[in-house]
């Protein structure tokens, strides 16, 4: 187990390193001089030179890379060009709102998607199955910015049940939660369409296996067969989807935050891109990558906990 974790973590470090490398290269790959891009077309050459010096763009590329990595190890992601605030501070301010949104949307997705999938698998071909079949098409194909706008229009503008704009403050939890509901729902809807279909098909597959037939032959109760025996195996592929879910939620937050006027990583990234604020872009993308990797490692670990066969093959392969 420890060997496996070590292997995964070292893999994660390599991915983060490559991400940083790509980001550093991106500064030099976009057309035009970053300093000029920041200052606009009418800047004097002196001012540009000054800014280049401040940005460290006068140094050789390798030295710039080294500066970035050594800063990274000290927990320093550089300084915002525009406001002069450390990037870590900006991210620290934006992160909680984004994490709250992503987390809430995943909880909603699972809390809605799994029970629905179970109910559908209980009676394949029933009314619920046919109903969700059509709806899931719509849910899966509607992008987050469309669902966000529709929810906003219906529940905040027309019905006025929930607040429309802003993320609120942690100090007022009820208000904060109320402001989470719409954006989180908008992001969860995709999974409400997707999860039940997957669970339905994996469940039907598992229910058709020989070991379920064998369990019936030994007189197992149907509820035991369905909820204990079959469900665990049917949920396994969904656990593997968890990493993907986190990725989808994080990218979705960019839309949801913009549409619902929330502060967060997404809005931070968007404004930084607008301003060609490279250190901030770099920091935000790096944070996204970090969470994506963590989510995938967690998904793999829980898969291993649930499926004993995977454990064995891993041990066999690593010689542990």
């Amino acid at each position: 187990m420890a060997g496996y974790l070590l292997k995964r973590l070292s893999g994660a470090v390599v991915v983060l390193f490559l991400t940083a490398l790509l980001l550093a290269a991106a500064v030099h790959l976009v057309p035009g001089d970053p300093a000029r891009a920041v200052l606009g077309a009418h800047a004097t050459p002196q001012l540009i030179a000054q800014v280049r010096l401040k940005m460290g763009l006068d140094k050789p590329v390798l030295v710039q890379l080294w500066d970035f990595f050594s800063g990274l190890l000290r927990g320093d992601l550089g300084t915002d060009f525009v406001g002069g605030v450390p990037v870590t501070t900006l991210i620290g301010q934006a992160l909680p709102d984004t994490l709250a949104l992503a987390f809430a949307s995943i909880i909603l997705a699972v809390a809605g998607g799994l029970p629905l999938g179970i109910a559908v698998a209980r009676r394949p071909g029933g009314i619920l199955d046919r109903l969700t079949h059509g709806l899931s098409m719509i849910f899966v194909s509607a992008p987050a910015y469309v669902t966000s706008l529709i929810l906003l229009l219906i529940f905040a503008v027309k019905l006025r049940y929930l607040p429309a704009m802003g993320a609120g403050q942690f100090s007022d939890p009820v208000n904060y939660l109320a402001r989470l509901i719409l954006p989180a729902t908008a992001l969860a809807m995709f999974w409400w369409g997707y999860l039940p279909r997957i669970l339905r098909s994996t469940m039907l597959e598992v229910l058709g296996t020989q070991y379920i037939r064998s369990a019936r032959a030994f007189g197992f109760r149907e509820t035991v067969i369905f909820y204990r025996y079959a469900l665990r195996n049917a949920v396994l592929p969904i656990v593997a989807l968890f990493g993907l879910m986190v990725g989808y939620s994080l990218t979705g937050t960019v839309f949801a935050e913009t549409i619902f006027g929330r502060s967060g990583l997404g809005t931070l990234a968007l404004s930084a891109i607008d301003q060609r604020n490279w250190p901030v872009i770099r920091g935000v993308v790096f944070t996204y990558a970090l969470f994506f990797i963590i989510a995938n490692i967690l998904a793999d670990l829980s898969y291993r906990m649930l499926d004993p066969r995977v454990r064995l093959t891993e041990e066999f392969e690593t010689g542990a």
Partner: protein
């Protein structure tokens, strides 16, 4: 018979598929007495498994039980409510299935699965401690060591044979009056099959459990069962006690099934075959369903469906045995007998000249090679699939290679054809070293008949194109080519198959196409890997007849790889017995069968079919345990971990092949001693 335990009457089951109705079972009657073992046999598609599943009402959703009754403990299983039926399943009537690798839930510990089965039949107050003691007892009695600890193991930590034991132990826990076993050993090696059959016999003796044993393998049925029911196209065609049924089969179908089976007593004879196929259950003929394939058919067979004629010990569904219809078969002055296949006794002896020779050949997988490889591999050991094999096959010889799965048989075949490079050793073909023969020339002269007939044929090519592909690859001049029709005729197939795709062929037909393709280039040497695996007995016997005829006519040299001992006994001039990558005994078929010198061969060969009356009284030597991993073969004699004769010396010193008679060699320290010990 005393009052039967299970009494099944008039069972009709139909499958509904795409608007068609398939008459899977019609008018099935079956009585099983307490502690009785009843065998159900027949080709695939005859309804055996449907019958087994119907007894527990475990049929798929598109099946419908249309009529009949099944009385067990004064209750009709077919009419019970769901909850009552559930309570009877497992406790009164349990079932074990064909594929032990798939009949346990992979993500639950076996203890948890057994506990669930147990709890399903207990009231709320059941105590775990009671279960634990019983489970340990049950597992121990089916031969699982350290049962208390193994309860916490997952299914994948057990071998296939062990998993089948666990299923039996679970049944044991519930003490059902009757156990339905649907092909319980079909996925297992002969040695493990013998162990499981032994276990079933023990179950009957110690617990009085009655068993319904469903199998396509007449050999195991003959050995295990008291009474046998033969099924054909969804009907019972014959029922009798096992001895009478196999000695004097009454129904032409039963007769043919028994005569299909290869054995050493049929060497040189053509085996019986059953032409055609089981008719489609959605369009059964008006008369007898077997009439189209029967050698005894008369006009009445096609007009009127035969009724079940009761006879001593059971009955038979055939007009021929109906006294009222006997005149159709009466030939003046002769009694009614069933046609016996023509005897064609001839065995073509091989020439003296060796065709292919292997000297000290090894094949190791996953071993470290080179400095970097060794560095990365660390301590991991290679899998020693073949470990020092020396073997000579003469021109025109049929050498049979037997051994359990994991003994390295297939790898040896592939290495001899250079489909895999040997790690070490030397192979000589027709006097030249394998390395010196150009690839293309070698491929022309050797061929392989693969184990999986369908997956070794390209699904996108038509049969005609598949058969002529060797000519295109090797650029054979048209006048030297055989035509597609010729090739098809050679393997007994009609010319219209040439335009078919592989998925349109039956298993037997696909196998013949594989053989025809192998023969297209007139090869000198053919490796046939499990040439009859997965085929019904009738299709298998036709393939064997074909291989035998071709061998005799063309003087082909064959290496036949199989775990089917009867096949080897029937076909091979010589037998080589493999164990963990080494040959432990090799010699002429007769000699190895009559005087097996190695304890492993003696055990393995004793497990051959017991259909023939000469064999039925013969004892069987169980080979205990399972084959160890070739990654970590035992030191000394590799067989010592399973050998009852093993001594001090066997644990440390590896035996080498030693002459045990004319052309007969054995690798055992004690073979002289063991031979003398025999009665």
């Amino acid at each position: 018979m005393t009052k039967p335990l299970l009494s099944l009457r008039g069972l009709d089951v139909s499958y509904h598929l795409d608007g068609d109705v398939y008459a899977a079972l019609r008018d099935i009657g079956l009585a099983v007495g307490p502690g009785e073992i009843v065998g159900v046999v027949g080709e695939s598609g005859c309804g055996k498994s449907t019958l087994a599943a119907a007894l527990l009402r475990l049929l798929p959703d598109n099946a419908e039980i249309e009529g009949g009754e099944a009385w067990l403990k004064s209750r009709d299983l077919l009419k019970l409510g769901e909850e009552d039926l559930r309570r009877m399943r497992g406790r009164d009537i349990a079932m074990i299935f064909q594929d032990p690798m798939q009949s346990l839930n992979p993500t639950f510990r076996i203890g948890s699965q057994m506990a669930e089965a147990w709890r399903s039949h207990q009231d709320r107050h059941a105590r775990f401690a009671d279960f634990h003691d019983q489970a340990v007892k049950a597992l121990t009695s089916v031969g699982i060591a350290d049962a208390a600890e193994r309860l916490a193991s997952y299914p994948h930590e057990f071998s296939g044979g062990m998993r089948q034991r666990i299923s039996i132990a679970t049944a044991l826990l519930l003490e059902p009056a009757i156990l339905v076993a649907d092909e319980p050993t079909s996925a297992l090696d002969v040695t493990l099959e013998a162990q499981i059959l032994e276990l079933l016999t023990k179950l009957r003796e110690e617990h009085g459990t009655a068993i319904v044993y469903v199998s396509h393998d007449l050999g195991t049925v003959a050995r295990l069962c008291d009474r046998v029911v033969v099924m054909y196209a969804g009907r019972v065609v014959e029922e009798n006690d096992a001895v009478s049924l196999f000695d004097t089969p009454a129904h032409p179908y039963t007769r043919a099934l028994v005569d299909c089976i290869p054995s050493r007593y049929r060497r040189g004879e053509a085996l019986a075959t059953i032409p055609g196929r089981v008719p489609s259950l959605s369009a059964l003929p008006k008369g007898c369903a077997f009439a189209e394939r029967c050698a005894m058919t008369r006009s009445i067979c096609r007009e009127e469906a035969p009724g079940f004629v009761a006879r001593a010990g059971g009955g038979v569904r055939c007009h021929m045995h109906d006294p009222a219809k006997a005149e159709f078969w009466r030939v003046p002055g002769r009694p009614v007998t069933i046609a016996v296949p023509p005897v064609k006794a001839s065995i073509r002896e091989p020439e003296r000249e060796p065709l292919i020779e292997a000297r000290d050949v090894r094949k190791h997988f996953g071993g470290a090679s080179g400095f970097i490889g060794k560095l990365l591999a660390g301590k991991s050991k290679p899998v020693r699939a073949i470990d020092g094999i020396t073997l000579t096959i003469r021109r025109g010889e049929v050498l049979g290679l037997v051994g359990e799965s994991g003994s390295g048989k297939t790898t040896l075949g592939e290495v001899m054809l250079r489909l895999q490079a040997a790690t070490d050793g030397e192979i000589t073909f027709a006097g030249r070293k394998l390395g010196q023969i150009p690839e293309k020339e070698f491929r022309r002269r050797v061929q392989m008949i693969f184990q999986e007939p369908h997956s070794s044929l390209s699904p996108r090519q038509r049969v005609g194109s598949i058969l002529t592909e060797p000519y295109r690859i090797h650029g054979i001049a048209p006048k030297e080519q055989r035509s597609v029709d010729e090739l098809l005729a050679m393997v007994g197939l009609s010319a219209d198959l040439a335009t078919k795709f592989p998925h349109q062929l039956s298993g037997g037909q696909a196998r013949r196409i594989g053989i025809a393709r192998a023969l297209a280039l007139k090869p000198d040497f053919i490796v046939a890997d499990e040439p009859t695996a997965g085929l019904d007995v009738s299709a298998a016997s036709a393939i064997l007849n074909l291989m035998r005829d071709l061998q005799q006519e063309l003087g082909l040299t064959f290496l036949i790889i199989t775990h089917n001992i009867n096949l080897i006994a029937y076909m091979a001039h010589r037998i080589a017995v493999m164990y963990l990558g080494q040959i432990v005994e090799i010699g002429p078929t007769e000699a190895v069968f009559d005087r097996p010198a190695h304890p492993y061969s003696a055990g393995l060969l004793s497990l051959s079919s017991q259909i023939d009356p000469h064999d039925r009284t013969r004892g069987r030597l169980l080979v205990p345990g399972e084959i160890p991993s070739p990654r970590n073969p035992p030191p000394g004699c590799r067989f010592h971990t399973r050998c009852v004769h093993a001594r001090e010396r066997c644990l440390s010193e590896m035996p080498i092949l030693d002459s045990a008679g004319d052309d007969h060699q054995v690798a055992c320290h004690l073979w002289r001693h063991i031979l003398q010990e025999k009665p």
